[in-house]
Symmetry: C2
Subunit: 459 residues, 2 copies
């Protein structure tokens, strides 16, 4: 019976990498995970599937439309669309079993059925860190989050030559205080914050025209324009152009603005103690973040040479994330790196490859020449494997030597061990360095010594 074959192409908007691409992606993911761990963040792993009522307790609008939502039996289920909402649920549920402050990282897939386009996927990895505690979480935890992401992005950027980057930081309280000063609140407030959030993606004329549509008050519009001229100088503080002193006199009596400015100053000056490069951490009032759960610090990260990625890492402080789940006041600060959004395009375009890494897919490939040496070869593999840190593969192929060398090159093997009847008879093995082409025949102990010398010194 003839049967049509099923199409095996991966779904549109979903990522599937070839092994050598996957290797690079995994190495990056592991390096990020190790830096998160090194900075004292603990791992949790929440289910991919959540009750819809949990995910939609807070979200709404566009997010809700994008979610993969379905019924199974009586359950109304959804695939998580981020790692923050499940984290809020986790913290609420396990509150009494957690040691506070609780610093957690989570690297996992999230799902959004949005229109597929390059760098926008329907299933993609995010790499989050958050710190939660009771009320009065020190502003230094904001520094912890940002400095940890700084260490990660520095590592990534230097490993793959991605150039300079900036972490732009602001504080929601400053705009909240400003808008409160003019009695702008609720929907109008969020509309203004949403437009400010888009400022860096628009030309100036469109920005102020959209702003004007909402505010319709020349005095306030002018003040907003001037807000963007305010500078923050590390270890000094806020600097307002002298000509605007009288316009901004209200700042000294606006508690929210004063708090926001003080927090921002503390963060920028603390961060300046961990790097000599004063251009990395920049206070920037155009950063507000669209999401309405942020209440204080907000930040975004931009690569100077890859503006097309937009912000590659962002986050902020939130005080009400668990409010839909509990009456307890749970306060947190967090940030995230869009792993897939940043790395999948870079890998697929060949901009970052295995050549950037100090690591091989396979360190040693063993090639037994015929069946008579299979068990001897297996024994050699076992010995070399248990005495070295090498990744060792063995293949049993009756192919021409040239074909086998091609295979060794394709799977990126650093060494090849060749075993034939001579080696078996003399209890030796032949080791070929694929980089230099140099080949030796020696005892297994000598080969183990060579491999340990090469691989034990590596990161």
């Amino acid at each position: 019976m003839l049967k049509n074959k099923v199409n095996t192409k991966v779904l549109s908007g979903f990522v599937e990498l070839l092994p050598e691409q996957q290797f690079v992606f995994n190495e990056v993911k592991n390096k990020i995970e190790n830096l998160y761990k090194k900075a004292g963040y603990l791992s949790i792993d929440t289910p991919v599937i959540e009750k819809s009522e949990v995910l939609f307790a807070k979200a709404g609008g566009d997010t809700e439309k994008q979610v993969y939502r379905f019924k199974k039996g009586d359950n109304d289920l959804s695939l998580r669309f981020d790692l923050t909402v499940p984290f809020a649920r986790y913290v609420t549920e396990h509150y009494n079993d957690l040691s506070l402050p609780f610093k957690r990282y989570q690297i996992g897939k999230v799902f959004r059925g949005e229109r597929a386009q390059k760098g926008r996927y329907r299933e993609f990895y995010q790499a989050d860190i958050d710190i939660v505690s009771e009320e009065n979480l020190s502003i230094m935890y904001d520094v912890d989050i940002i400095s940890t992401l700084y260490s990660v992005i520095s590592m990534i950027s230097s490993l793959f030559n991605l150039g300079k980057f900036k972490i732009k930081i602001s504080n929601r309280k400053i705009w909240e205080g400003f808008l409160k000063e003019f009695n702008i609140k609720d929907e109008k407030k969020y509309a203004i914050i949403n437009i400010i959030d888009k400022k860096n993606k628009m030309d100036e004329a469109s920005f102020y025209s959209e702003l004007s549509n909402i505010i319709n008050d020349d005095k306030i519009e002018n003040l907003i324009k001037r807000m963007f001229e305010i500078k923050f100088i590390p270890n000094f503080g806020i600097s307002i152009p002298e000509k605007y002193y009288s316009d901004f006199s209200f700042i000294n009596s606006n508690e929210l603005i004063k708090e926001g400015v003080k927090e921002l100053e503390t963060i920028i000056s603390s961060l300046s103690t961990i790097t000599k490069n004063s251009e990395v951490f920049v206070a920037d009032l155009s950063i507000v973040r669209g999401l309405d759960y942020y209440t204080g610090t907000v930040f975004e990260t931009f690569l100077d040479d890859f503006k097309e990625f937009g912000s590659i890492s962002s986050g902020g402080r939130y005080e009400h994330l668990c409010d839909n789940y509990t009456d307890k006041k749970i306060c947190g600060v967090g940030g995230s790196i869009g792993l897939s959004r940043l790395f999948v395009p870079l890998i697929e375009d060949g901009k970052i490859t295995i050549a950037n890494l100090n690591s091989n897919m396979i360190d040693v490939l063993i090639l037994p020449q015929d069946e008579s040496v299979y068990n001897y070869s297996l024994n050699i593999k076992d010995k070399v494997s248990s005495s070295t840190p090498c990744k060792i593969s063995i293949i049993y192929e009756k192919k021409k030597f040239k074909k086998l060398m091609d295979y060794a090159n394709k799977i990126n093997a650093k060494y090849v061990i060749i075993i034939g009847s001579d080696e078996l008879a003399n209890n030796t093995i032949s080791l070929k360095n694929m980089d230099t082409g140099k080949q030796i025949t020696d005892s297994i102990n000598k080969v183990i010594e060579i491999l340990n010398k090469d691989f034990n010194t590596k990161g």
Copy 2:
């Protein structure tokens, strides 16, 4: 406005671990992944969501009922229920880009909406390895799969004191040949194989009574009974009790049986070269595996002291897995460890804990005593972190010292660094070993030296 709070309990049948449990689970997962990599298997990562027609090209019956299946737009989608079917799709789709033989590992979550019970989850991790190639894949690759799983289970068992285990191996061709000899085929054949698959879970009387219901032929039933008395002796071969010689005379002319026996002998004798313990690898004709895609080698693994887990690792050889996707003959052999099914109950019951591991959740916890030393402490953290392999956390809490020590113990910190105004004034830090209680105050370089001595020698 009062609002009902959303219930944050995780869905029934879904796993969620506390941080200290998650730490143990992750360590095990990482160790398994490292052994897979060390044995030359390459990572791939396929989407969690697949087109339903891809998943159901082969499966059916119970599997289909368990699957999480839903529509999104025009797409009929499902969550993967194993890692094997997506792998078959991946190999077919990327066939021309893969270097064959292709050895891959994949550790990921799979989803089955079956009735929730202990050790049976609806979302759980599997850890698979497979080797695929064109036709004529050497039987030594079966040895590669089984020996790799052996190394993993040996590691697990010795790390957590889980005792002895057996890998029971058989070959489908032996039963296929046997049943062909008596012209038993199609549905009847699969019914018999399914009953043999359940033999070890039933008492003998029920087993033979069920068998009799299907076969209804005393002669064949007796021969099946005698099949289970056949022994395989490594480096010698098949051993049939002398009194049955005449009954089994057909074996010498049955090509399928001869092939199956030869393959089984090769595997058992090759595996015996990698361990001195001859009791680990056992030929056992009661192993057939229920799934109908296996065509040769089949195996299952049992812990002597934890019979309740059933088989903790199993697999086999398949020759037709990609047939629904392509006309190319793709041949493979693979095996899997049921990560969640084995470890989640062991962790939840406290049978394996962080005490089994040579690793801390946090190596060093830094405790700045007040705000005046925050920036100094941040600087210390940065220096210690970049000069040692330690996982270092810093907390900014205005709590009693005793409370902070409780926190250090709870998050399993090995050392605490205490920084107060004295330390700042003298440019020193105080280091307390939480195991011994010993505390010193010294220069940062001396502390880095101590930490490197302790942590660099660790695996």
